[in-house]
């Protein structure tokens, strides 16, 4: 143990330099050919397979696994990409235990599903360095604006480009990828995979990427509607919910998404400051990603505190187990009431909660956790949506395949209603909106 490990406060370099590479290595190393064959042999090739139904993008999973088992992983990759052009990232980040693998009939047979996620990665990894497999259709002369280069925007752009439309993506940040690039734990997508996947996706052609273009600042919806034949909004959720606890303005309190972003973009992980005692408030994937990475950066104690019961956590069971096995403590049924300290946070005070008939009830039973750093991970919200759009539950209201209340404007991904806030759901929504836009632009819709 280095002395830095015990230094109080938020400091960089808690670990030996070599430990960073070990800690942030691929959390689920890829299957080699043999392991993939063994895993593929377990698939029963079910009729009307439940795993396909459980996949938001409807990938023909038994078919791609059969293609792996017969020694044609590139054909397997095409089966995947036809439905989900971001199949590589989804193979890494999908909560498969709640989706395809959770539906696998082998769960019923022996409680061990076919390793669909790992097999999908095996198939798609082989194609990321290969020439782009899809060709564009004949040019239509139509132009479509896509706002946001996250999973929904990229999926839509690719499908539109494949149909022969010209696409311009307007991305607020410096890089494309959205949460794939900025919002997912580093150990899930190592070696710059997110950017490699974006580059590969864009290499279909016909897609212009303009970064540093934020809706409401550099661009407006009215202008886009005037300049393009259709608009697809997929800018995600830019705002972060507040704790609404006393003392929330003290130092060393951050949004977990910012911490994750900085970590993903860091050239040198040793330069990232991290607390000795870290508290993360929230119950989703972001909370887990922040908490685990805080541990991996050398925090001595990391605690996730979630206000409801553990079964209500949005993070999958697998993610929760990953957190606890990484040394993260999870406290449930507790809500923050105050942040104590002088300038910076020193302690966080919680009260235990109970489910009451009118919702969550705070009890008088309180406790404090030592904390020199606090991360908020209690959800994101839509920020800066154009006035013209009807909203529903704080998101852009859509019907059908992402049609907004404004003609010619579609929306998908986390910023729009419908579906879970998952990468794979965003891909499905982007793809389906693109199909709908294509039909409308061709006059069939």
């Amino acid at each position: 143990m280095t002395q830095a490990k015990l230094t109080p406060g938020v400091v960089p370099g808690r670990l030996m330099q070599a430990d960073y590479a070990v800690n942030f290595a691929d959390v689920a190393p890829p299957l080699d050919r043999h392991a993939a064959q063994v895993a593929a042999d377990r698939c029963y090739f079910c009729h009307d397979a439940p795993c396909i139904t459980a996949c938001p993008t409807g990938i023909d999973i038994p078919l791609f696994i059969r293609q792996i088992s017969t020694g044609t992983p590139d054909a397997a990759a095409l089966t995947i990409f036809h439905q989900n052009i971001l199949g590589g990232m989804c193979a890494r980040v999908c909560p498969t235990e709640n989706l395809c693998e959770g539906a696998c009939v082998r769960m019923e047979a022996e409680g061990q599903p076919v390793e669909i996620g790992a097999l999908q990665r095996y198939a798609t990894d082989g194609m990321i360095d290969a020439p782009h497999p899809f060709l564009r259709g004949a040019p239509t002369g139509k132009r479509v604006a896509v706002v946001g280069a996250g999973p929904a925007g990229l999926a839509a752009a690719h499908r539109l480009a494949a149909k022969g439309h010209e696409v311009v993506i307007f991305e607020a940040r410096e890089k494309a990828g959205g949460l794939n690039e900025y919002g997912i734990a580093s150990y899930k997508t190592v070696d710059g995979f997110a950017q490699a996947e974006v580059d590969w996706l864009l290499s279909i052609g016909g897609i212009q990427l303009r970064t540093g273009q934020c809706l409401g600042q550099q661009i407006t919806l009215d202008q886009l509607r005037a300049d393009f034949d259709a608009v697809f909004l997929a800018m995600g959720l830019g705002g972060v919910n507040a704790l609404r606890a006393d003392g929330e303005d003290r130092d060393n309190i951050r949004d977990a998404v910012d911490f994750i972003r900085d970590l993903r973009q860091a050239e040198d992980l040793a330069a990232l400051p991290i607390g000795r005692d870290v508290v993360v408030i929230g119950g989703g994937m972001t909370a887990v990603d922040a908490a685990v990475q805080a541990r991996l950066l050398g925090a001595e104690t990391v605690t996730i505190v979630y206000r409801r019961g553990q079964d209500r956590m949005a993070a999958s069971r697998h993610e929760q187990e990953h957190a606890t096995s990484s040394g993260v403590r999870i406290i449930c049924n507790a809500a923050p009431v105050a942040v104590h300290g002088n300038d910076a946070v020193a302690e966080v005070e919680f009260c235990y909660t109970q489910d009451g008939p009118g919702g969550l009830v705070q009890t008088e039973n309180r406790f404090r956790l030592k904390a020199d750093q606090l991360f908020r991970a209690i959800g994101q919200r839509l920020e800066g949506a154009p006035q013209a759009l009807a909203l529903e539950d704080g998101k852009i209201a859509v019907t059908g395949a992402g049609r907004s209340s404004v003609p010619g404007v579609w929306a998908g991904g986390d910023c729009a209603t419908g579906g879970d806030d998952l990468t794979v759901t965003a891909v499905a929504e982007g793809r389906d909106a693109a199909e709908d836009i294509d039909e409308v632009l061709r006059g069939d819709g």
Binding site: V38, C46, H47, P50, V105, A109
Partner: protein, 432 residues
């Protein structure tokens, strides 16, 4: 505990598991290891006549067919008979037999089809103290092109002639090993019996090409860009072997002729099946080549367990299923069964549905929630659903009670009646 000691045509062995004449039994070193591992007997790899030994290819000798997870289902080989000098083999046989007097040691032979060649070799074998000979009339490659192996085994007259010489010039028990590369295996078995054979052993390997290299466009194993057919063995050939064993066991001409069963015996259960169909013992090769000699220990414990749990002696098992092997026209057409799906055991994979809907009789309904139910009105009891179901005993076949109405035909289940008396049979006259 069941006694596994076997007496096959007077050759005694501590258990009925012999290693077949093949690469595992080519020399003293291997055979000693086999006996140490517990094998009851060994058929020494085929010896040829004196003189320069045969030569083998110096590239791959085996081709393989895999099941899931590279499980070996079948091996094909292009190896020939022993490529070591005769005198070396004879010396080693004598040495092994001296140290393992309780084990069966049989010598496989293949010499040119003339009386002198056989007389000469038999004398030499007798001097080793070996327990018997097996005549290799089965090898389908290499030697057959030189007028030996299956070239003899495919001509019943040759089999009879050579067998007669062997019985004339030797007092040793003579087992004739049969090739499956014939249209009716009973004919060579009858010839062996006429020649005075003490037993037949079957099957030898089956002519085969296991796979084609799709880059070289050549059969595998590939020798410098070319391939020749080889002999196929292993679990994949067991069904073919079982049928041939049963045909000989139940044929009026060969009934009672001792049989040494060969062909894909991998577990005690395979061995028990061969024995139930009339084999007095079994010979094993591919299982040993895949897993090593230790596999015999599972065969011994498994067969013993089975016999004990059924309160049978080994002799009770041999041939016990033969009376139940019959011709199709003797099968009871009034025996009616229906598939039953155990909903608690069902994992909802739908393979039964796909198989029945696409390729059979549309007798399984797929209901909401992926509930699969048999439609008895359509079920012809083919049992394909059961065969493709990944869960053992999830689908079973229920036999209709006598008098119970078959919902498919609307007729009550009747008593025994077969095709020979069926009204649709133009040749049916028995009832009149």
């Amino acid at each position: 505990m069941a006694d596994l000691r076997a007496d096959f045509v007077g050759i005694k062995s501590p258990n009925p598991f012999w290693l077949a004449s093949a690469p595992p039994t080519d020399k003293e070193y291997n055979v000693r290891r086999a006996f140490q591992a517990g094998w009851g007997g060994v058929v020494w790899k085929t010896l040829g006549a004196e003189g320069p030994p045969v030569v083998n290819v110096n590239g791959p000798r085996y081709g393989v067919v895999y099941g899931a997870d590279r499980r070996v289902l079948g091996i094909n080989n292009i190896e020939l008979i022993t490529d070591r000098p005769l005198e070396v083999n004879l010396r080693e046989i004598k040495s092994v037999k001296r140290d393992y007097p309780d084990r069966a040691l049989i010598i496989s032979l293949m010499v040119p089809c003339d009386e002198d060649s056989w007389r000469t070799i038999l004398k030499q074998i007798e001097d080793t103290g070996a327990d018997g000979v097996e005549l290799n009339f089965g090898c389908p490659h290499g030697m057959s092109e030189r007028g030996m192996g299956s070239a003899v085994g495919q001509v019943p007259e040759y089999i009879e002639m050579v067998t007669r010489w062997v019985k004339q010039y030797s007092r040793m028990p003579c087992i004739v090993k049969l090739t499956p590369n014939v249209t009716d295996v009973r004919k060579p078995a009858e010839a062996a019996k006429r020649g005075g054979a003490d037993a037949v052993s079957l099957i030898n390997t089956i002519n085969s090409i296991t796979s084609v290299d799709l880059d070289l466009f050549a059969p595998q194993p590939t020798i410098d860009g070319k391939g020749a057919h080889g002999g196929y063995c292993g679990p994949a050939v067991k069904p073919i072997a079982l049928n041939m064993v049963a045909e000989i066991a139940r044929s009026a001409e060969t009934r009672g002729l001792p049989i040494s069963g060969i062909g894909g015996v991998t577990t005690w259960r395979d061995a028990a099946e061969f024995m139930a169909l009339g084999a007095g013992n079994v010979q094993v090769c591919t299982a040993a080549m895949t897993y090593g000699f230790k596999v015999v220990q599972e065969m011994i414990s498994g067969l013993r367990d089975y016999l004990d749990s059924h309160q049978m002696q080994l002799s009770d098992l041999i041939g016990r299923a033969v009376p139940n092997v019959t011709d199709w026209n003797q099968l009871n057409l009034n025996y009616v069964t229906k598939a039953v799906i155990d909903q608690d055991a069902c994992i909802k994979c739908g393979r039964c549905y796909a198989a029945c809907e696409d390729t059979s009789h549309q007798a399984i309904a797929m209901k909401p929630g992926r509930v699969f139910e048999v439609i008895e009105e359509e079920c012809v009891a083919c049992n394909l659903c059961l065969d493709v179901c990944p869960i053992e005993d999830c689908i079973t076949m229920r036999e209709l009670a006598p008098g119970e109405t078959d919902k498919r035909t609307g007729l009550p289940r009747g008593g025994y009646a077969n095709w020979t008396t069926h009204p649709n049979n133009p040749l049916a006259r028995a009832a009149e």
